[in-house]
Symmetry: C2
Subunit: 684 residues, 2 copies
């Protein structure tokens, strides 16, 4: 319980004492908005425009672990959670344990994200939302959060029995202060109180918004459940499950479905048991809903703690100060999440085991080594956000092929054309900053071609370190392909329009699934012209080749990269033919999804595909060239990453060192037979 | 004066009162680091890991204007100031007045920056550092800050006489909290105290760092002057100027030059007059110098307020926790400054007059207008950071020419080649995000070619809004050209190696300065190939043209853009020849620096150069084609900005509407004669 006065005179101890007493006496425990604001223990010491202040409030103990629960389902909410978590981590000074109630999609995304984020002093557990559906699906609900909104009601039964207190957050809130200050409000709960809530900042529950608007029952304006403090221990003891179910069942006799999901039920229960609720200061849930009255809260205190985008319009909500709130939100939307991988001072916590291994490996690097940057980049684990945009996994088909590629911002222009050329599933990894990921999102949303495709999975790998970890990024795309076969392409290639169908037919014909371990080679060509009419058949392609409008890929600079494909034979070929591996061969191939990964030691540019083909050959993959398949490289400006390093001698020396190590590892894995790869390279 | 106790039990009012009294008694006013820390009025309420807290401290009055003084000279310090100011603005809740003591370079940069930043409730005044030099130049000084470091000593005489209090900051500090909390510490000054400082967190002044190390005198470890609270009124009254001069002169009799600039002198004065200083809590100046003892401060309090990068190594300083501090710094280095253009709640302040006019203009736009985005973009004033990197203005030469162009991140690759082709001065405007500006900085610093050039001025125009404001960006580059003539180029063109010399000779020959009002046309060509050997003469160029390796610029898509140049005549020409304007003509020209600006209404892509040539013709510029001049366009991937909009019909409709308005404005300015431009367009 929190007494507090508002002395305006400076430094007078006597007055302070008097006001402390008055503060005690003033407290009346009723959920009035103004009273809640006045009682705000925070307002005084951080609402910097008061002349004096007294603070009497227990803060969490040093290094106390704070628990947060969030219900999250689907691709879009998973993105929202990341922004919420970034804002929370930016201001936090305590260790945190996140309890995430997720559907399969959100679990897949967030598990990988937190695993690769490796933030010190953050623990994450997952609870299966799908298992909880039967517990709430009997409640008819019209709110946009669907069934998932209702799941906040069952948290006391879902979270570990030993967990006594938890902060529950909606995915659409943004922190502007340290969550420890919110946690501290638990200390003000009376013995009876079990739930802390901020009053609603709209007139919804007053039932006067429009004619015949009949909301669920609530105390006055009712409470908003975007930010909740739950005393789980007391809720369990008090038989919460029975309590809310009875209330809901009873109201549903006379009322239609809930309009605001869990919030209607929480409010109905509180209406019947007002002693359960501890009203929280309004700054802890500044609600930017339509018709919001939030201004009454924040204009006085000037110190906002949590912003709640609780309108279906979200950032597009109309509000006099929305610019201010939007800027705060954008700060964290675009914030480089890598910067949040920072220790908690005075609160040492062991890093996650993987992080510790990495730190040890980094510590063993020799900073004097000319290739230090290369080795450091190899050891860097980038943060990964899988399926950044909504994605429908392809139906299970035995010969289906996913196009796998990676790209960065300077190749976004390729995506529409790629979608037109490849009607099948794609798994694309994008190497981006957090801010670029938002530009990418906007790019897809404003493209009719891209937003029509649900079978293209976009995985964001967040930029970190000076060298481009091309093979790490490729491996993310490869690992996420969901069909039995993958076409390992590069984003600046456009496949023949017929390639997707032709590949599936070829896989079936060649009985790859059962009989042969093979990599199907798709012959690669290039055009040097931006204006270019794509050949619709092999015959047209050959005509262009003869006319000098097309070349075989890298014909002028690096013919050995494609030479074994034997373009002369391909011209005439009617059936697939086998070719032999040779040094520096780097064809574009179709292989089973469980093929070897790309070697992540090759960072920056050079040899990253060559090494992969060596690995395929070493593992006994036949190389079969398909007679009707082709793909064409389009011209583009050389990327900054490549041009920066191609000119440096260090780069060339390090690439040589990496190749040597690669060959040593090959011999270790595949024995003396693997010596052929080194020997082949050494031949003139 | 600040009493404070540390009760650990919760909620016991009696104990609190007792501790308050003990707090009063404990206070001893001596500059011991531990005492300073213990007395920290902030530690308790924001060092969240204490169990309880009492806060008795006056905060600035609601909306009180806080004053900050910073000495800043040169290009690099100007960039540092921006990061410092961003961190300050992020946490501030009060109006601020910045008093900047600047040299000419810093004034030019920061005046434009703040003028275009238009942050509400921030005022900036400038004081000329060069005028102050004589006041401090008699003090010999070895510190890397040079003469400018010493200028903090003369602030009481420089700042307005009515100004009583000011926070003085070094350019290498970063805020991690609200500056109002620092300002609040003025209230703890006793009647005698005139200066608030944090103790040094190194043993420098103890004189035991190495043998024969003889520092200037100081009390114990002395104080650090990276963050200073100055009672200007009292300093003036106490005859501060006399005081520091006498002390410095006296010490200089036995000591060599100052090693730490103003800091040595402040400490020497304090050693003689300890009553002048109010020691501040160490968290207000966490010093990351070499040999720092800062850990003693921050490991206990876990709540850092201001970070001071006071080692010449800056971010590369070795420190166990440097990763944490660096991440905090990078947060603001890369922070989108546009997001700080946010109102102060509860503290309304009139926006700067320009901002108000803009707001009114924006309010008058019709959001239903299909071209709303175009009109909004035109009204957007982008933040501009002139000469982002060190730059030497070219010596004054009567016929000199500056190459003017604009670019964004995807054209950085062009810069090295451009530098090789154009040995003269350049003024380049870059349209970038804050984070990209840092990548750009790194790009230049790691390029031997670019970092060798001091005559290339890079002006950063910060991205804002959905459309590319190409003409606004061009105008920034044009306005900053310092030679009498400018070559208005585009960044994807490489000029003939001889062009710079040839243009200057032509200007002299044609007597452009005195006799003729002319635009010299540089004929434009293009190659569609990335591999391309640049012609070293007109003869070579013509051979390539005949061989089909080169084309005239946009020969295939838009020949009318260059047609009036009359390439057939150019082949044979031996002397400059005059050509007539025709519809859609957009040659690359050399004109006097005071030529008309580009029309900023053309945003996105299309017609942005055409309109400029129309304007030149309307103003009576002769168009003279130079017989030996040429420039060649290199191929590149179409930019995202252009490809996104070229396909949209709205874009085409709006471009048409903008053209119509342009023609209307032309008639208004130039009368009936200007009708010819519209008529020419309408001809088939």
């Amino acid at each position: 319980m929190l007494p507090r006065g508002r002395p305006r005179a400076l430094g007078a101890a006597a007055l302070l004492l008097l006001l402390l007493l008055i503060g005690f006496l003033l407290f009346d425990g009723r959920p009035r908005e103004a009273a809640a604001r006045d009682r705000d223990p925070q307002t005084d010491h951080r609402g910097h425009n008061r002349s004096d202040c007294v603070l009497l409030r227990p803060l969490p103990a040093k290094c106390e672990l704070l628990h947060v629960a969030i219900v999250c389902a689907g691709h879009n909410s998973s993105r929202d959670v990341v922004t919420l978590v970034k804002s929370m981590l930016f201001y936090r000074k305590n260790p945190l344990h996140l309890h995430l109630v997720t559907d399969t999609v959100a679990k897949n995304i967030l598990e990988t994200l937190f695993h690769t984020w490796m933030v010190p002093a953050v623990w994450v557990s997952f609870h299966d939302a799908d298992e909880l559906k039967p517990k709430v699906s009997w409640v008819p609900n019209k709110h946009y959060s669907g069934l998932y909104g209702l799941m906040k009601l069952v948290l006391p039964g879902v979270l570990p029995p030993a967990l006594a207190r938890v902060v529950v957050l909606d995915t659409d809130v943004t922190f502007a202060s340290d969550i420890a200050e919110l946690w501290a409000l638990f200390a003000h709960f009376s013995d009876e109180q079990v739930i802390g809530l901020v009053e609603n900042q709209s007139d919804w529950y007053l039932g006067n918004l429009w004619r015949n608007h009949k909301p669920w029952p609530a105390l006055g304006r009712g409470f908003n459940t975007g930010v909740i403090l739950l005393r789980l221990d007391r809720l369990r003891q008090a038989g919460w499950e029975q309590m809310w179910k009875l209330t809901a069942a009873q109201e549903l006799r006379t009322l239609p479905a809930t309009s605001l999901a869990d919030q209607d039920i929480f409010n109905a229960v509180i209406k019947g048991h007002p002693a359960l609720v501890q009203p929280l200061p309004c700054v802890w849930n500044v609600q930017l809903s339509d018709h919001t009255l939030a201004e009454r809260c924040y204009l006085e205190v000037a110190d906002i703690k949590v912003i709640h985008w609780n309108s279906p319009k979200k950032l597009r909500v109309k509000n006099k100060h929305v610019e201010f709130f939007r800027n705060h939100y954008l700060t964290f939307l675009e914030y480089n999440g890598n910067l949040l991988r920072r220790e908690l001072f005075g609160c040492p916590s062991p890093p996650p085991p993987e992080a510790e291994q990495l730190q040890q490996a980094v510590a063993q690097l020799n900073a004097g080594d000319a290739c230090f940057e290369f080795r450091l980049q190899q050891l860097t684990v980038p943060r990964v956000h899988l399926t950044f945009l909504p994605h429908e996994p392809p139906p299970s088909r035995p010969n289906d092929v996913t196009l796998v590629a990676q790209l960065s911002m300077d190749r976004l222009q390729m995506l529409e054309a790629l979608c037109r050329h490849w009607p099948g599933p794609m798994s694309l990894a994008l190497y981006l900053t957090d801010a670029e990921a938002q530009q990418f999102l906007h790019f897809v949303e404003t493209s009719a071609v891209l937003s029509a495709r649900q079978d293209v999975a976009y995985h964001v790998v967040y930029r970190e370190g000076p060298l481009y970890p091309i093979n790490q990024v490729r491996n993310v795309a490869l690992a996420q392909a969901l069909t039995p076969y993958v076409f390992l392409s590069d984003v600046d290639f456009l496949p023949a329009y017929s390639l997707y169908d032709y590949l599936r037919a070829s896989i079936e014909q060649l009985e790859l699934g059962s009989r042969r371990k093979a990599a199907l080679v798709v012959p690669a060509f290039e055009t040097l012209h931006y204006r270019f009419s794509f050949p619709s058949s092999k015959a047209e392609l050959l005509a262009l080749l003869d006319a000098g409008s097309l070349y075989t890929f890298r014909y002028h600079e690096w013919p050995q990269g494609q030479a074994p494909t034997d373009y002369a034979r391909w011209r005439e070929a009617q059936a697939p033919y086998r070719v032999q591996w040779a040094a520096n061969y780097e064809p574009y191939v179709v292989v089973p999804r469980d093929c070897p990964r790309y070697d992540p030691r090759f960072v920056g540019f050079g040899w990253n595909k060559v090494a992969h083909i060596v690995e395929l050959d070493a593992q006994g993959y036949e190389l079969l060239v398909l007679p009707e398949a082709f793909t064409i490289h389009l011209p583009h400006t050389p990327s900054l990453d490549s041009s920066r390093f191609r000119s440096s001698t260090t780069y060339h020396d390090c690439l040589q060192a990496l190749q040597d190590e690669f060959h040593q590892d090959l011999s270790r894995h595949y024995g003396a037979a693997a010596l052929k790869y080194l020997t082949a390279l050494q031949q003139p």
